[in-house]
C-alpha cells in the first residue's frame, strides 16, 4: 500500500460523504451483509451517470434492503411493503426527466408485491428496479420466500424448501423488461456496470443482485459468514451473457449463471404511451 492510500484510509472524509444521510448512520446492516457494498456501488453508478442528483429518486419497500433508500441523500422514499414499484411509477410519470430507481428485497418485490413487478415490466414503466436477492426474508427473521431455492433451509423450510423458486431474470424478460442482468454481490465491478447501464436505459430495466445475508440465510445453510457466501458465489458463478434466461434457474447444486441477458432498444415506455394516448384523445376531439 502506498503512502497516499494510507492517508486516505486515515482521513476523516469518506469518498461518499454528501451522498449518505449522516444522521441515519450507523446503518442497521449486520457484519458481513452485502447491502453496504451494494449501496456503495449504487451511489457510484448514480454519480457517474451525470444525472443531476436533484432528478434522482430512490424508492424502497420494506425489509433490510428496503432500508437503503433512507440512507441515501437523494429524494428517497421508504414506502410500504410490496408497493415501491407502483409508487415509483407515480413519481416517474409526473416528471419524465426524473430517474426513478427502486431497490428492494426479493420478498418485497416478488412475494407481497409480485403483481406490480409483472405489470410494470409488461407496460415498460420507465423505472430501474434492483432486487437484492438474499433468498429469504431477512428482516423478519429468515422465512422462506419466492426465491428460496429447492433444498434451502429457512425457518419455514426446516427440511429444505420443496418449492420451485422464481427465476427472476427469466420472469423479467418474459414480462417485457428492456434490460435484464444478474450478478453476485462479490462482483461489485459488474454490479456497478449493470446499475450504470440500467439507469441509462429508458423503459423497465431490471438488475438482480445475489446478496450475502449471513444472519438469516447463511447460518442455516452452512454459510454463516459473509465471506463464505461470497466464496460460495465465487465457486459457482459462470459468466454467460448469451444464456437463455429459461436455463438460469438457481438451485443448490447448479452453477449460478450471471450476465447481461436482455438489452433491447426502442420500445415505447409507459410514459410514451400515456403521452401518445393524450395526443390521440385530443386529436379525436379536434383540439
Amino acid at each position: 500500500m502506498t503512502e497516499d492510500q494510507n492517508e486516505l484510509l486515515e482521513s476523516e472524509a469518506h469518498p461518499l460523504d454528501g451522498f449518505l444521510r449522516e444522521g441515519r448512520i450507523p446503518h442497521i446492516f449486520c457484519p458481513g451483509c452485502s447491502l453496504g457494498s451494494i449501496t456503495n456501488v449504487l451511489i457510484e453508478a448514480i454519480n457517474e451517470s451525470g444525472i443531476d442528483p436533484k432528478k434522482v429518486a430512490v424508492v424502497s419497500g420494506i425489509g433490510c434492503t428496503g432500508r437503503i433508500a433512507g440512507y441515501l441523500n437523494y429524494d428517497s422514499f421508504h414506502t410500504t411493503h410490496g408497493r415501491p414499484i407502483p409508487f415509483a411509477i407515480g413519481l416517474s410519470v409526473t416528471d419524465p426527466e426524473r430517474k426513478v430507481i427502486v431497490i428492494s428485497g426479493d420478498g418485497d418485490l416478488f412475494a407481497i408485491g409480485g403483481n406490480h413487478f409483472i405489470q410494470a415490466a409488461r407496460r415498460n414503466a420507465d423505472i430501474t428496479v434492483v432486487c437484492v436477492n438474499n433468498f429469504n426474508y431477512g428482516m423478519t427473521g429468515g422465512q422462506a420466500g419466492p426465491t428460496t431455492y429447492v433444498g434451502q433451509f429457512q425457518t419455514t423450510s426446516p427440511y429444505g424448501s420443496l418449492e420451485e423458486p422464481f427465476n427472476l431474470p427469466n420472469l423479467a424478460a418474459t414480462c417485457g423488461a428492456v434490460y435484464v442482468a444478474r450478478y453476485t454481490a462479490l462482483d461489485v465491478r459488474r454490479v456497478k456496470e449493470a446499475f450504470s447501464e440500467a439507469i441509462a436505459k429508458s423503459g423497465f430495466s431490471f438488475v438482480e443482485v445475489l446478496g450475502s445475508c449471513p444472519t438469516t440465510y447463511g447460518r442455516r445453510n452452512q454459510l454463516a459468514e459473509g465471506k463464505k457466501i461470497l466464496e460460495f458465489f465465487a465457486e459457482k458463478t459462470v459468466l454467460n451473457h448469451d444464456a437463455d434466461t429459461r436455463d438460469i434457474r438457481i438451485d443448490k447444486d447448479s452453477p449460478i449463471i450471471v450476465g447481461k441477458f436482455v438489452d433491447i432498444e426502442d420500445k415505447p415506455t409507459l410514459t410514451d404511451n400515456l403521452l401518445a394516448l393524450q395526443r390521440v384523445s385530443q386529436a379525436k376531439k379536434g383540439r
Binding site: 420494506i62 410490496g82 422465512q143
Partner: protein, 380 residues
C-alpha cells in the same frame, strides 16, 4: 370445580399460540410481521412436532393469509391466523369480508402503530381502524389474559347464534415479547371447554350446494347488516356467559368479561382504559390511595360489541371519568373517549368525561405518568 393447571413462564405471543394449539384449528395461514411472527412460528413448530394436526399454509402476503382462512372457514373447519399493524391494514378488504360474511375466524392482533414513521412499537391505531368491520374485539392486559381470551374467543365466535370473527388484541412487545406467568390447563381440559367445531356455521355440502357472496340487492343487503348488528348485541351476553363458564372451570375472571373494574365502587376519579395501560393503572391507583386520593378504574376489555350498559352503570356511581386512549381519531378525540362520552350522553348520565391520548408509537406509559394525569384531573 376448577381444573388443575400448571404455572409456566412465557411471552404473550407464546400464550396466544398455546391457546390456538389447545383449540386444535385445522387450518392456519400466515405471513410474518413483527411483533406477531412468533405466534405463527410456534404453531408451525407444533405442527411439525406432531402436536397439532393442522394444515399450515405459508402465503405471500397477509391479504392471502386471511383469504386462505376464509376459504377454509367456509369449508366448515376451525381456522386461525394472526397479524399486526401494516399486515392488518393490508388484509383490510378481507377483514371486512370476514366480518360481514360472518366467518368465525380467530385472529390475534399484536398491536403495533402504523407507518409512515416506521416504528414497531405498540399503540391501538391498527385494530381501532377495524372497529366497524364486524369483528369481536377484546383487549388484554397481560400474558395470562391473552391465553384466556384467545381460548374464549373460539367458543364465542363459533356459536351458531353469534357467527362472528374475533380479534383478541395484545400490546406489541409489552405483552407479545415480555415473559410473564401463565397458568396453563391441560390441553384436554382446554379443548373440552370450547369443544370440537363439529356443527359448523357454514359447511360445503354437495347435496345442498350454495352460492356464496352473490350480488345482493338493497333489501337483502340491509337485512344482512341488521342481522350483524343484532348478532353483536347477542355476543355481549355470550361473552359474559362464556367468561363465567371459563371462571368456573379455570378459576380466573376479568370483571364480567366485558369490563373489569378496579378499586372502590365509588371514587373521586375513574380511569377508563384499554389493554396494558389498564394493568399499569392498578399500580397508579394503589399509590394514589396511599397518598389519600380516591381513584378507581374501569378497563374496557371488550370494545366490540361495546359494553354500553356496564359503562353507564359504572359512570352513574362515579363523579369524573378520564379516558386514556392509545389511538387517535384525527379530527376528533381518542376513539374510546368519543364512545364513552356518547354513551353517557345518550343515557343522560351527567358524570363528566375528559380524556388523554397516551402511548402512541410505543411512548412509555408508566404508572408515574398515570399518577400525574390523575392528580391533574383531581385538581381541575
Amino acid at each position: 370445580m376448577v381444573v388443575k393447571q400448571e404455572t409456566k413462564s412465557m411471552t404473550g405471543n407464546d400464550a396466544a399460540s398455546y391457546a390456538a394449539l389447545f383449540a386444535k384449528p385445522e387450518v392456519i395461514a400466515a405471513y410474518p410481521i413483527t411483533p406477531q411472527t412468533t405466534i405463527v412460528e410456534n404453531l408451525s413448530r407444533f405442527v411439525d412436532e406432531g402436536k397439532l394436526e393442522a394444515e399450515f399454509i405459508i402465503v405471500e402476503s397477509e391479504h392471502s393469509a386471511l383469504a386462505a382462512c376464509m376459504g377454509a372457514a367456509w369449508s366448515g373447519v376451525r381456522t386461525f391466523t394472526a397479524t399486526s399493524s401494516q399486515g392488518l391494514l393490508y388484509m383490510s378488504e378481507n377483514v371486512f369480508w370476514t366480518g360481514y360474511g360472518r366467518l368465525p375466524i380467530i385472529m390475534p392482533v399484536v398491536n403495533r402503530c402504523l407507518a409512515p414513521g416506521w416504528n414497531i412499537w405498540p399503540d391501538f391505531q391498527d385494530s381501532m381502524a377495524f372497529r366497524d368491520a364486524g369483528w369481536i374485539q377484546m383487549y388484554t392486559k397481560n400474558n395470562q389474559e391473552v391465553f384466556d381470551t384467545t381460548l374464549q374467543a373460539f367458543k364465542i365466535s363459533e356459536s351458531k347464534d353469534i357467527a362472528l370473527p374475533s380479534m383478541p388484541c395484545l400490546d406489541g412487545f409489552v405483552i407479545s415479547h415480555t415473559t410473564g406467568q401463565v397458568d396453563l390447563p391441560d390441553p384436554e381440559d382446554a379443548f373440552e371447554f370450547i369443544g370440537p367445531y363439529d356443527d359448523p356455521i357454514i359447511e360445503l355440502d354437495v347435496e345442498n350446494p350454495w352460492a356464496y357472496g352473490s350480488m345482493t340487492g338493497p333489501d337483502q343487503y340491509s337485512k344482512n347488516r341488521r342481522d350483524l348488528m343484532v348478532a353483536m348485541e347477542r355476543a355481549k351476553k355470550k361473552i359474559v356467559d362464556v367468561h363465567k363458564e371459563f371462571e368456573e372451570r379455570f378459576g380466573r375472571s376479568y370483571g364480567n368479561g366485558l369490563v373489569e373494574p378496579y378499586g372502590d365502587d365509588e371514587a373521586d376519579l375513574t380511569l377508563v382504559t384499554l389493554g396494558t395501560i389498564g394493568d399499569e393503572a392498578h399500580e397508579a391507583i394503589d399509590r394514589l390511595k396511599v397518598e389519600g386520593h380516591s381513584v378507581n378504574a374501569l378497563r374496557v376489555r371488550t370494545f366490540r360489541p361495546f359494553p354500553v350498559e356496564d359503562i353507564v352503570e359504572f359512570a352513574k356511581k362515579n363523579h369524573k371519568l378520564v379516558v386514556i386512549d392509545r389511538a387517535a381519531s384525527f379530527g376528533h378525540e381518542g376513539p374510546l373517549r368519543i364512545e364513552v362520552e356518547a354513551v353517557l350522553k345518550r343515557h343522560n348520565v351527567d358524570t363528566s368525561v375528559s380524556g388523554k391520548i397516551m402511548g402512541l408509537g410505543g411512548e412509555d406509559v408508566p404508572y408515574s405518568a398515570i399518577i400525574d394525569l390523575a392528580k391533574k384531573e383531581l385538581k381541575e
